[in-house]
């Protein structure tokens, strides 16, 4: 069985860099990662190469007498400054890249948008789709619509569990909360992770570059079934999204009505 596993194609596995390709922020993080990777590879080769060279070259059987060197101040200052310069370079690149990672771009699809609240990251034209993400042991709930407070139940907004449906080419802002323990929202191809901390509201965004299905899962230990707290983001055409939203709303309202009727019936019969 081990052999078959080893021979099996490594589906969707990455070796060198993080997942990307679903959203501009994930792509920008990936490109920042790769810039650091090149610098890191250089440092790795120089340090490990010198180390290997020293232990092979200066064996006692080749070198009978060690050079009694106590140090060299210029060398010491030199490599301290060199290390500092590398870090300055990475700092500059990071802060140059940062706006494209944290600020959402404008949506390029034509659908009806909901406006944002003051705390949220917002694209320049203010047009975005807000989805409220609520973590709980061990499932994610998404409610569609800008009201991420307790009024969302009164407003009877459409919602879904585990699978989030979003329109393509649309800036989606996620408002993330938790109702029990700390969870962490993470769909790698759509950008970095954000903790869902009870008592706090956190935000992230993505703008799906193409339709498809994206896998993610909770990244913060949240209890015994942490491994099964997965998330799926289904990116569809804007028309399909509108249709799905409408159908989901109808289905939820129908189910609510059913429960209401049942409750009335049970109350009448004195069972509730």
């Amino acid at each position: 069985m081990g052999c078959t596993l080893l021979l099996a194609p490594v589906a969707s596995a990455n070796f060198i860099g993080p997942k990307a390709g679903g959203s501009p922020n994930a792509n920008q993080i990936s490109s920042l990662y790769h810039i650091i990777l090149y610098i890191a590879a250089f440092v790795f080769v120089v340090v490990e190469g010198t180390l290997l060279y020293s232990v092979v070259k200066f064996r006692a059987k080749r070198v009978r007498h060690a050079a009694q060197i106590h140090g060299n101040t210029r060398l010491e200052v030199g490599w301290t400054v060199a290390a500092a310069l590398i870090l300055v370079a990475i700092t500059v690149v990071t802060f140059v890249k940062l706006p494209s990672i944290i600020t959402p771009p404008n949506s390029s699809a034509a659908i009806s948008y909901q406006s944002a609240s003051v705390n949220e990251p917002t694209p320049p034209n203010g047009k975005q789709l807000t989805i409220c993400v609520t973590g709980r042991q061990f499932i994610w709930m998404y409610s569609y619509g800008a009201a991420c407070d307790k009024h969302r139940w009164d407003a009877k907004l459409p919602y879904s569990y585990q699978q989030m449906v979003v329109p393509v080419h649309t800036t989606v802002v996620l408002v993330i909360q938790s109702i029990d323990v700390i969870h962490s929202w993470w769909v790698p191809a759509l950008g970095g992770k954000v903790d869902a901390v009870p008592g706090y509201t956190t935000y992230t965004w993505f703008k799906a570059l193409h339709t498809g299905l994206f896998h993610g899962q909770c990244a913060q230990l949240c209890g015994r079934q942490h491994a099964f707290m997965t998330a799926q983001v289904k990116v569809v055409a804007p028309g399909q999204y509108a249709a799905w939203l409408k159908q989901q709303g109808v289905a939820i309202n129908a189910a609510n009505d059913q429960v209401g009727t049942l409750r009335q019936m049970l109350t009448r019969e004195g069972q509730l």
């Binding site: 990475i90 970095g192 706090y200």
Partner: protein, 557 residues
């Protein structure tokens, strides 16, 4: 032929009974008890790690439940941090700090014994939970998961008491180390002639004194939240789970350096001896230890880049984390420069030092990726982080522990460890380690979060996980080989003289093993390498080249 004059006093060597160990206040026996006890915990923590690796070796495995997996990951992390790496350094420190500074014991011998017994009690309280319900909230125990509502069992309370007991143990030990090093150095041993291992233990002690009270306060608050109706971390009553994260990591990051700085110290002692060269840049290595310790108190929130923390704060902690890379890099450069143009004796101890530099460098480099907070948003809480901190802690602390064992075993027991078994152990550990953890970077980059007890087969994680599990077993065998080597060499190892390696520091001035009073005469220290001066003086006075008790055999190879 004249040799280094050492202990010639008659010492009655009767067989030690158990009561001699229980009642001892001798720093050497306490040191040995520390080393033995922490290795028992190392084996327990290792078995826990292997169980987790077996569970993850194939997708959708049902060997362990989520409950048991969470218990194992909590016990593994807690054991390795609080019951192995931190106290094993106290073990080496106990045995060798007084010897290296030319003292006859620690400043407070009975306090020293108390430190050891508190550690044992902490471990017993924690492992007793195996018989009812071990904690399962991870070694960070983030509330609300660790609150009474989500972790109702007493296992979480046992974890809190473990933190307290081992914390008091380490705190008393730290005060003892500080007092010993500050007051009991041999005549002539100024701060500029203090061996680098002693510098490292001094800074380790200071960091423990800074960091431990904070975690002690935090776990006391958690205990009060759990049982006495307070709401420090309870979001329902306007407490803050993020407060715990700040308090815990204000302790937790210095803790990382508490674990690796003594390892750096061991490396800084062993490399010069086997390169036959003085340490390159003594002042830079000693100063970088102090600088790392200072910066270590300013980087804690880089563990919280995905938490609700303002961007400006993230930027600050990115930069402070970068800064700590500079003194760490300086150390690595100085060690390599010490090897450069040396006359290197390829002993097992040196192998582990070189392995440490090779592995720790990787951990340092991946640390830069993680310090860049936007990149950390992708890597945090994934197997990339698991790989990173094992490269730093296993590389930076446990490789030096093995180097220390091979280097100092002749002093502690009077016998050599078997070099052939040592080399076998090194290669198994080195290759096994890299097989286990190198692919875990790839797992993290492929989107596998840490602390999940199973995963679906179609995610592309299966092959890497299998490789990692195979590597972990290889690593385990490598560790076992050294343990067998130690057990075997106690009886059959070649006899080592007082100074088998031509060491530089004062522990080699006395017999192997040292007598209870350590030294009959304490020499005046005139440089960083007092033993070298003593050997030279004898050579000058007698015209005889000083032989060593076994180091030459590495020259023949």
């Amino acid at each position: 032929m004249p040799q280094v004059v050492t202990d010639t006093v008659f010492v009655p060597r009767r067989r030690l009974r158990w009561i001699d160990w229980v009642t001892t206040t001798d720093h050497k026996r306490i040191g040995i008890m520390y080393l033995v006890l922490t290795f028992v915990f190392f084996i327990l923590g290792g078995v826990e790690a292997l169980l987790m690796r077996v569970q993850l070796s194939v997708p959708s495995n049902t060997l362990l439940s989520g409950e048991h997996y969470n218990e194992l990951l909590t016990m593994h992390g807690t054991t390795m941090v609080f019951l192995f790496v931190v106290p094993v350094m106290a073990g080496f420190g106990n045995y060798f700090v007084p010897l290296m500074i030319g003292a006859r014991d620690m400043a407070f011998p009975r306090l020293n014994a108390l430190s050891f017994w508190l550690l044992l009690f902490g471990g017993v309280v924690f492992y007793a939970t195996l018989f009812w319900q071990p904690p399962e909230a991870g070694w960070w125990s983030y509330p609300p998961l660790s609150s009474i509502q989500f972790s109702p069992s007493g296992g979480q309370d046992a974890w809190i008491f473990l933190i307290h007991l081992t914390g008091i143990s380490s705190l008393l030990g730290a005060i003892n180390f500080y007092a010993t090093i500050a007051n009991m150095r041999a005549p002539g041993m100024s701060w500029g002639r203090l061996p680098l291992f002693v510098w490292a233990i001094l800074v380790y002690a200071i960091l423990l004194i800074i960091a431990l009270p904070v975690v002690a306060a935090a776990v006391t608050m958690l205990l009060a939240d759990r049982h006495f109706g307070t709401h420090f971390f309870d979001p329902v009553a306007h407490g803050s789970p993020v407060l715990w994260q700040h308090l815990f990591w204000f302790f937790g990051h210095p803790e990382v350096y508490i674990m690796v700085l003594p390892g750096f110290g061991i490396i800084s002692e062993v490399i010069p001896v086997f390169s036959r060269k003085p340490i390159f840049g003594y002042k830079a290595v000693a100063a970088s230890t102090a600088v790392i310790a200072f910066l270590a108190t300013l980087v804690w929130a880089h563990h919280m880049f995905a938490s609700p923390v303002p961007i400006v704060v993230l930027g600050f902690f990115m930069l402070s984390s970068f800064l700590i890379g500079i003194p760490t890099g300086v150390k690595i450069f100085n060690w390599i420069a010490t090897l450069w143009r040396g006359s290197i004796l390829p002993t097992t101890a040196l192998y582990f030092c070189v392995g440490m530099i090779a592995i720790f460098t990787v951990g340092g480099i991946t640390g830069i990726f993680l310090a860049v907070f936007p990149v950390d948003w992708q890597l945090n809480d994934t197997y990339f982080v698991v790989a990173h901190f094992h490269y730093t802690i296993f590389g930076g602390a446990i490789f030096p522990v093995f180097a220390g064992i091979y280097y100092w075993f002749p002093k502690m027991s009077g016998r050599f460890l078997n070099e052939r078994l040592g080399k076998i152990s090194f290669w198994l550990v080195f290759i096994g380690f890299n097989a286990t953890f190198l692919v875990q970077h790839a797992l993290g980059l492929s989107g596998m979060p840490r602390r999940i007890y199973t995963y679906e087969p179609n995610l592309g994680w299966s092959t890497y996980n299998l490789i990692s599990t195979i590597g972990a077993f290889m690593l385990g065998v490598g560790v076992l080989v050294t343990i067998v080597n130690v057990a075997r060499s106690l009886k059959v190892g070649a006899i080592a003289g007082p100074d088998p390696w031509k060491g530089n520091t004062l522990e080699w001035f006395t017999t192997s093993p040292p007598p209870p009073n350590n030294f009959d005469v304490i020499p005046r220290v005139r440089s960083l390498e007092p033993m070298r001066d003593i050997r030279r003086q004898i050579e000058r006075q007698t015209g005889a080249t000083q032989k060593t008790g076994g180091g030459e055999r590495f020259l023949r190879a």
